[in-house]
Amino acid sequence: MTWTWFHRLASPPHIYGLAGRLTPWFAWPAALLIIAGLWGGLVLAPPDYQQGDGFRIIYVHAPSAWMSLMVYTTMAVAAAVGLIWRMKVAHAVAASCAPIGASFTVAALVTGSLWGQPMWGTYWQWDPRLTSELILLFLYLGYMGLRAGFDDVQRADRASAVLAIVGVVNVPIIHYSVTWWNSLHQAPSVMQLGKPKMPLSMLTPLLIMLLGFTLLFVALLLVRLRAEVLNRERAANWIREAVSA
């Protein structure tokens, strides 16, 4: 088996060009899906029989929370690949993930808090789901702080990768926290195959939003990855062509 395709894929000039070409193919569908999901969630979906129109927070809260977990998992896998195979591009992917994930974790926490007040009577509770999500935010911030503490990129890559990989144990804890412990937070309503708990008129806009946010993440990651790859290259000839345009 030949590995040339793999090395070509992982080479900085190839990644820089490929990421640039792919970005619009993710950014525009993401924008269209999010607009469609917004219309579906705010206008087309019927009010909930218990929560009235208050339940519509789900269309921004659940996608933000999904982002917080998916981005962290991507970051940890990329960090592991970088650490094991000494692949610089994988480390660049991991480093690009952190600010995106951290900001959507903040969105998940704040929108959850705004949902909790009218439904549970409190903005915050030291509940397993809420606490583990807050720990996720600290993991992202710790990862970024640790990277910022190194002048040498390769040492920053290795040290922060270890933190990202160790912290990934928090991801299943967040997901299963509502099943394992008594939690104020409701049980999952989407990730239940076979018996969806929501009518299709409510579920469809949510699925559209989840897909839209996922594509948005890929588009943001591609742009940030190009920046990371450029910053990591020293005196390579391809850069002259890349930045002259």
């Binding site: 208050g54 933000s64 600010p99 704040v110 929108t111 705004l114 450029l230 850069i239 930045v243």
Partner: protein
């Protein structure tokens, strides 16, 4: 179809629903801005590096 006033009232939950949407779309907008700024800064820095290498030769 609901009236526009009813839509903005969100069944009395306006004070919680609208801030949630504003914050989430604010985070999206910031992410788009930050990502584009990061790429632009990286390009500027790369051009500067190339220029200083040119002088050294």
């Amino acid at each position: 179809m609901r009236s526009l006033a009813e839509f903005f009232d969100m069944g009395g939950y306006a004070a919680f629903v609208w801030p949630s949407y504003v914050i989430t779309f604010g985070v999206i907008a910031l992410n788009v801005y930050w990502a584009r700024r990061a790429l632009e800064r990286a390009r500027v820095a790369a051009r500067r590096r190339l220029a200083s290498q040119g002088e050294a030769r």
